[in-house]
């Protein structure tokens, strides 16, 4: 057994220092499109290329609804007037801001959060990224976040996938089984808007159609750092990003 201990010690610390410091290694995030100011005539062709209609034009810019972006790169590859591309990973945003003034869990959960994950029909990519948050590079335990398999102990519910017809009942049951206070974090484009699967006979078109969602992490799939940002947002340790790129000053958030 000692050889495993030695191996572990030899390997050293691989964990990122986020949220203490920004993570600058290459390849940690695919980035998101950044809209474009003054696109001119090339706007319409670019907008029409988006398969999930997450682009629209308003005044002199192209606006983005990140909840729909599925990382197909059609707006940046092989097209005139390609959109700007933002690297970075702090993508999570609040969803419910209308009626509830505290969408996030209080400070009490800041360093002790129990997470329940329910798979509402996610493809393997979101699941794989979620599994990484427990692995050496990201290690959410150092932040005080833990995964639990039972809703009775959970404070926050992570849902990935468009919530298929067969899983609707289970997702709602899991949410109902959690004791208050509880929050919901929708992970990925599918969970926020149905992704490429949209609304159909087999897919609800996103978690907000079933239960109230508090925080959303866009991306297809969102990288582990974005998911961690979402969790930190949920416990008020990090500020939110906008789920829709407005670029303009009023920064209106759509729910």
């Amino acid at each position: 057994m000692s050889k495993w201990v030695l191996k572990g010690l030899q390997t050293g610390i691989k964990t990122t220092s986020y949220p203490g410091r920004e993570e600058l290694a290459s390849g940690v995030s695919p980035g998101l499109p950044g809209g474009k100011k003054e696109p001119g005539d090339e706007a319409l062709p670019v907008i029409s290329r988006c398969p999930t209609h997450s682009l629209r034009q308003a005044e002199q810019q192209i606006l983005l609804d990140y909840r729909r972006c599925i990382h197909c790169f059609r707006c940046v590859r092989g097209v005139q007037g390609a959109l700007d591309w933002n690297s970075g990973y702090e993508w999570a945003g609040s969803i419910r801001t209308n009626d509830d003034t505290t969408p996030k869990l209080g400070k009490a959960f800041g360093r002790s959060l129990n997470i329940l994950f329910v798979d509402g029909g996610a493809c393997g990519a979101c699941l794989s990224e979620l599994e990484q948050i427990n692995k050496p590079f990201y290690n959410i335990h150092r932040l005080g976040f833990f995964i639990t398999p039972t809703p009775r102990e959970a404070d926050i519910l992570l849902v990935a996938g468009p919530v298929t017809d067969h899983m609707e009942f289970s997702v709602q049951k899991a949410f109902a089984a959690m004791p208050t206070p509880k929050r919901v974090l929708a992970v990925g484009a599918c969970a926020l808007s149905g992704g490429i699967f949209g609304t159909s006979f087999a897919s609800a078109g996103g978690v907000p159609k079933l239960i109230r969602v508090d925080v959303g992490v866009p991306g297809c799939p969102p990288p582990p750092l974005a998911i961690i940002h979402g969790l930190l947002l949920a416990v008020s340790r990090k500020p939110p990003a906008s789920l829709t790129f407005s670029g303009s000053v009023d920064g209106r958030k759509n729910s």
């Binding site: 495993w4 390849g27 029909g121 493809c123 990519a125 990224e129 590079f137 017809d165 006979f201």
Partner: protein, 534 residues
């Protein structure tokens, strides 16, 4: 050990043989240039022909494709063999007014789940099939509603439900005091949604009865009427961890329909990226196996390698899971040869660490104890269930699509297909390590001999037609059938992912075992419900 075929037969002989045996009932139409033999069969001999192909001629069953036409259903049975045996497509038509289709699963057991899926989604009844119903659509969907039929409106939620308070799951064990331990659909930390009923009389689990399709997103149905470009996105995203392989199979189907030639550089890049995905996928599976046995340091070691590979993929291509790279005809992005060689060096460095991990694991007796002789799948069962991929290779079945139906230039690449005989968890782990080694090897070969040239052919239109595309995905053989209309939109899209084939055989490994071995058997199989349920 290669599986020996019963007779040395080649495709020409095959058509002659069939014409001899069933002169009236089967119309053979060989297409030797494409290594294909099409035939149309009548109801009375369908089962015989399929069973003869499977048991006597040694063909493997790939897929059953059901297509609905105005007045009839056409069922296409796809078989494939080794290189010289090519593929056999058997077409069987049945009028919509007729009641039943003969079931071939008594003889070709690999077709079992295909027939059950067709029954649930199309409403076809297969004669003598002992277990129809409650497969894709669960018990609260009413009878007679079949989503894949053309008259079903797939764009809206289907709200009507029928709850039967007396519904019970199928039980196989009949012993006093037997009961079923339910697992899922929400169970472990990050497990995919699936339901297992473990039948037991208290000590060992005697039989596992899985219930899947909790993640059914109706990919085949929502693809109908969409453009090729949109369906390409679906092909990538229904199973994100094998996105490149599935998009490759889809693109090859479209290329076949359009009769377009993929430029050699694109082909070589496709091999490079596919093997990169395979390497990452296998390392993730190894991490999963170590995690299931709770060997924490080994899990961390494998996870570190996995994350490093994900970052390399992202740095090279812009996406960690290689989304958005394939397109019909070639690839979308080109990479400089130096960049690829540098990447290849890094990968060799990673691979050395993987080898170290393998050596350390092979000396950890407590780890091996939990894998050896656990979840054994025998060769005979594997053949009759038509298992594919690393799981099949661990039980002695060495059919690999890259060798028997080479695509994208694999015939020019040298690699071994590893094979083990025991069929237990440790054999599957060893196969994963060996295949990772082969992938690293192929990556080196390709990186050092990348042909120059374009990565896309000249623009082309997709005509009306239908073709089968395939690829050896990390989990095994996958087959994509695409039929297009005149305007280039997809009319029928049928995916047979390797997880679907292999989940069928999961219960063979999960029989008569101790309950605590269940997560380990699951991890050594390393299957994906997202891929299987589509």
């Amino acid at each position: 050990m290669e599986r020996l075929l019963h007779d040395t037969v080649s495709l020409n002989n095959l058509s002659e043989e069939i014409a001899l045996r069933w002169p009236e009932q089967v119309r053979v139409n060989p297409d030797l240039q494409n290594g294909l033999c099409r035939m149309e069969c009548e109801a009375s001999v369908l089962t015989e022909v399929c069973s003869w192909l499977f048991s006597k001629m040694g063909y493997s069953f790939a897929s059953l494709i059901v297509e609905e036409e105005p007045a009839e259903f056409s069922l296409r049975y796809i078989f494939y063999g080794d290189l010289e045996n090519g593929q056999v497509h058997i077409l069987y038509r049945i009028l919509k007014t007729k009641a039943t289709v003969p079931s071939i699963s008594h003889f070709v057991h690999a077709a079992d789940w295909h027939e059950r899926e067709a029954e649930d989604l199309f409403g076809l009844v297969f004669e003598d099939h002992p277990r129809l119903g409650d497969f894709v659509l669960h018990e609260e969907w009413p009878e007679g509603v079949n989503p894949m039929r053309t008259d079903f409106d797939a764009s809206k939620l289907y709200v009507h439900r029928e709850v039967n308070p007396y519904w019970r799951p199928v039980r196989i064990v009949q012993a006093p005091g037997a009961f079923m331990m339910p697992i899922g659909p929400i169970y472990s930390d990050f497990a995919e949604s699936a339901h297992f009923l473990l039948e037991t009389v208290g000590e060992d689990v005697i039989r596992t009865i899985p219930r899947f399709f909790y993640k059914y997103r109706g990919v085949e149905k929502i693809a109908e009427g969409r453009t090729i470009d949109e369906v390409l996105l679906l092909a990538e995203r229904f199973s994100g961890t094998s996105a490149f392989a599935h998009s490759l199979a889809f693109c090859q189907a479209v290329e076949e329909i359009s009769r377009v030639e993929v430029p050699p550089r694109a082909g070589a890049l496709r091999i490079f990226l596919a093997e990169l995905e395979r390497l990452r996928h296998h390392i993730a599976s190894i991490a999963g196996i170590c995690g299931s046995t709770a060997l924490a340091v080994a899990t961390s070691q494998a996870s570190i390698l996995e994350e490093e590979l994900l970052r390399l993929c992202c740095a090279l291509t812009g996406h960690r899971y290689l989304f958005g790279l394939n397109t019909p005809g070639g690839v979308v992005m080109d990479f400089s040869n130096e960049a690829l060689r540098k990447l290849e060096d890094t990968i060799q460095g990673l691979f050395k660490k993987l080898e170290e991990l393998k050596k350390m694991l092979s000396f950890s007796s407590s780890f091996l104890d939990r894998l050896e002789e656990v979840g054994t799948v025998s060769l005979e069962s594997g053949v009759s269930y038509g298992l594919v991929g690393p799981i099949a290779r661990a039980s002695g079945i060495t059919r690999d699509l890259r060798r028997v139906l080479p695509y994208s230039g694999y015939e020019k690449v040298e690699f071994i297909i590893p094979c083990e005989q025991e069929g237990d968890g440790y054999a599957r782990l060893r196969i994963l390590f060996s295949e990772a080694k082969q992938s690293a090897n192929i990556i080196s070969q390709v990186a050092s001999s990348l042909p120059p040239g374009p990565i896309l052919p000249p623009p082309f239109a997709v005509p009306r037609g239908a073709a089968l595309g395939w690829a050896e995905a990390p989990k095994g053989a996958t087959f994509h059938w695409v039929r297009t209309a005149e305007d280039g939109r997809v009319v029928r899209y049928r995916v047979t992912p390797p997880s679907f084939t292999n989940w069928h055989g999961f219960h063979l490994a999960a029989e008569d075992f101790a309950f605590q071995d269940f997560p380990i058997i699951m991890a050594t199989f390393g299957l994906s419900n997202a891929e299987s349920d589509r």
